[in-house]
């Protein structure tokens, strides 16, 4: 039902612009009120916001890595799909943020990209997901999940040492058990990319569970990067973290973007605005609006989007 609404609001786009002219519209005032609490103590973010306007003008960041094509996910006997015929591209070198209120299907969508959704009993999928021109159903599951790696909401390092955590997938994927010395360069590389190396290099044999929450999450990112993925999925990676760790991880997302495509689910609109190149807004399983970050936040075309990014609901 929201979908037709989108279309009917398309002509009203100019209307939306008109509202924006009557400054300050409620949407922006709320955004400004909130902004300092999250961003003010964080000068590192500042320069990152303005280039996003420049980014918004660029049509696409790179070649298309992943295409979600008319994807629907059903849970059990529920009549309404949790994700309803969503079509989205994911480009190399971009951060795509999925935003929307709880239960809108964004995590379900994310988890279907590496077929983790199939672990949920009763989940059914329709539509296609294409990775570099290949349907992911045709790929071996283990291969797919190394190319499309994932970081979870709750940091979930294994109860092993830091080294063993990062080396875990490398050891599992090799037929012969590689020695620690052979693995070290790759472990170091992954930890450096995740910005954790300097903090942990003095003792890699420390238990991972003794790290702080933010460090644990970066360790999980390092673990996911160790398999050299093409796409990195992040499911609200900062929602269990404090503001400082969140800043560090957002910084990291910026640095990683150049090397891979990132799809991030977030509840935090400010975060989506800070880190994303493109944003997809979902509501009740429907993709309501998709576009460059600046565009979607400043000039949302759909009524629902306007309400959501303005803080009317969510």
């Amino acid at each position: 039902m929201s979908r037709p609404a989108t279309e009917s609001h398309d002509p009203a786009g100019s209307d939306g612009d008109g509202t924006r002219g009557a400054y300050p519209p409620p949407v922006r005032r709320i955004a400004l009120d909130r902004a300092p609490t999250v961003v003010a103590d964080d000068p590192a973010e500042r320069p990152l916001v303005s280039p996003s306007i420049e980014r918004a003008l660029r049509p696409a960041t790179g070649r298309e890595r992943l295409r979600i094509d008319e994807l629907s996910i059903f849970y059990g006997d529920a009549p309404k799909p949790a994700v309803n015929a969503v079509t989205l591209p994911v480009h190399e070198g971009e951060v795509l943020a999925l935003i929307g209120p709880s239960g809108c299907g964004k995590t379900t969508l994310l988890r279907s990209l590496n077929r983790l959704i199939e672990l949920t009993p009763g989940a059914r999928r329709q539509g296609r997901i294409v990775l570099d021109g290949e349907d992911i159903d045709g790929l071996e599951m283990t291969r797919l999940r190394r190319r499309v790696s994932m970081v979870f909401q709750q940091p979930n390092p294994f109860p092993m040492s830091i080294f063993d955590n990062v080396a875990y997938a490398l050891r599992e994927q090799s037929r012969k058990r590689p020695s620690k010395r052979d693995l070290l360069p790759r472990v170091e590389h992954a930890l450096r990319r995740a910005g954790l190396w300097d903090e942990v290099s003095h003792d890699l044999s420390r238990p991972a569970l003794r790290l702080s929450g933010g460090q644990q999450q970066r360790l999980c990112i390092a673990r996911a990067l160790a398999v050299e993925p093409e796409v990195l999925l992040m499911d609200e990676p900062c929602s269990a973290l404090d503001p400082i760790s969140t800043t560090v991880i957002e910084q990291l997302i910026h640095e990683l973007r150049s090397e891979l495509a990132i799809v991030i689910v977030t509840h935090n609109l400010q975060q989506a605005r800070r880190v994303a190149d493109n944003v997809a807004f979902m509501y009740l399983g429907d993709l309501i609006e998709y576009g460059p970050t600046e565009e979607l936040f400043e000039r949302p075309r759909a009524e629902r989007t306007r309400e959501y990014v303005g803080g009317t609901f969510g």
Binding site: N114, L116, T142, R145, F158, M160, Q173, A224, V227
Partner: protein
């Protein structure tokens, strides 16, 4: 005084009330250990380290003959009546315990994985209560089934006439023995291990499994390399609990072991499995009626002392193993 007791239970009084039984248990265990050690002392004194040894004692005969001659020693036995080399009994105890625990660990880990990861809800709802029920079956029932069903089956179908004849001058093969003992002991200790390991496996956070799967690891490897690895302390704990039960099992093993103070010989090949034995606990249970012989009494206390010490060593060992495993955050 009574009025004070009727008052509300303060934390201090509750602490004393609950602490008293705990302290009492520790004291009783210590007292038991000391008492048993003192009672066992004469036999250790007379035999020295030879007590643990194998073969005929200075006075000759097998371990069973040595035990028999103790009875004749009466209340004031000569030193020679104490002579014993208990190795066959110790070996029988260790053999049955180690084998049944080793098989039990493998079986219970696999069963727990099946229950937690693979079994459909309906199967699981049946299997879990049944396993817990099995853990509570009195051992004498296993012994009865063993002696009425398994022993005749082994005697009639597994032991060949050639095998029987090849060792007939050493030991009679009649059915009861190592195989039946280990099968029943495994059956007896495995349910409790399954129950404990299932609980541990269920408490493994879902995030660990999903994390492994998301790294492109198969379900089986995710279970083995993350979940089972994480619950190693619980597996150790289950194994120790089960070995304590196996070490102390007297009645059932007395019924199905053949009750012969013989140390099965691995070099006998397949026949090894059919050779009779008798563990320490069963030996104690079978000899209690002749306890008025001082030499035998001391010897039985020595067996008890050995079992007690083994249990302490096991508990202590498991404590250190668990501590080192938990250092990495395993549970």
């Amino acid at each position: 005084m009574l009025a004070r007791l009727r008052g509300p239970l303060t934390d201090r009084r509750a602490g004393l009330l609950l602490g008293a039984p705990a302290v009492a248990v520790v004291l009783i265990v210590l007292a038991m250990l000391v008492f048993v050690a003192i009672q066992a002392w004469p036999t250790f004194q007379h035999n020295g380290l030879g007590w643990l040894g194998d073969g005929p004692a200075p006075t000759g005969g097998t371990v069973d003959q040595q035990l028999g001659s103790m009875v004749e020693g009466g209340e004031a036995p000569p030193p020679s009546a104490y002579a014993i080399k208990a190795w066959p009994l110790i070996f029988g105890t260790a053999l049955t315990t180690v084998l049944s625990i080793a098989i039990g660990i493998v079986v219970s880990v696999l069963a727990a994985i099946f229950i937690v990861d693979l079994a459909p809800r309906r199967v699981r709802n049946v299997v879990v209560p049944v396993v817990r029920l099995l853990a509570a079956v009195p051992s004498v029932i296993y012994g009865l089934i063993g002696i009425l069903v398994l022993v005749p089956f082994v005697n009639d179908n597994l032991i060949s006439e050639g095998q029987r004849q090849s060792v007939q001058n050493v030991i009679p093969l009649t059915g009861p023995g190592l195989l039946v003992s280990v099968v029943l002991l495994t059956l007896m200790v495995t349910p409790i291990m399954i129950a404990l390991i299932t609980d541990a496996l269920e408490s493994v956070p879902r995030g660990w499994r999903e994390g492994a799967l998301a790294l492109g690891v198969t379900q089986w490897r995710a279970t083995m390399s993350v979940a089972v690895k994480a619950i190693r302390p619980a597996i150790v704990a289950a194994a120790v609990l089960a070995s304590a039960r196996a070490l102390g099992e007297a009645i059932m093993l007395s019924m199905v072991s053949g009750s012969n103070g013989y140390a099965p010989r691995i070099q006998d090949g397949l026949i090894f499995l059919f050779e009779p034995l008798r563990p320490l606990a069963a030996t104690i249970a079978e000899n209690t009626e002749s306890i008025n012989s001082a030499a035998l009494k001391s010897t039985l206390y020595a067996f008890a002392f050995l079992l007690l010490v083994s249990c302490f060593v096991l508990s202590l060992g498991s404590y250190f193993i668990k501590r080192s495993l938990r250092a990495q955050g395993a549970r």
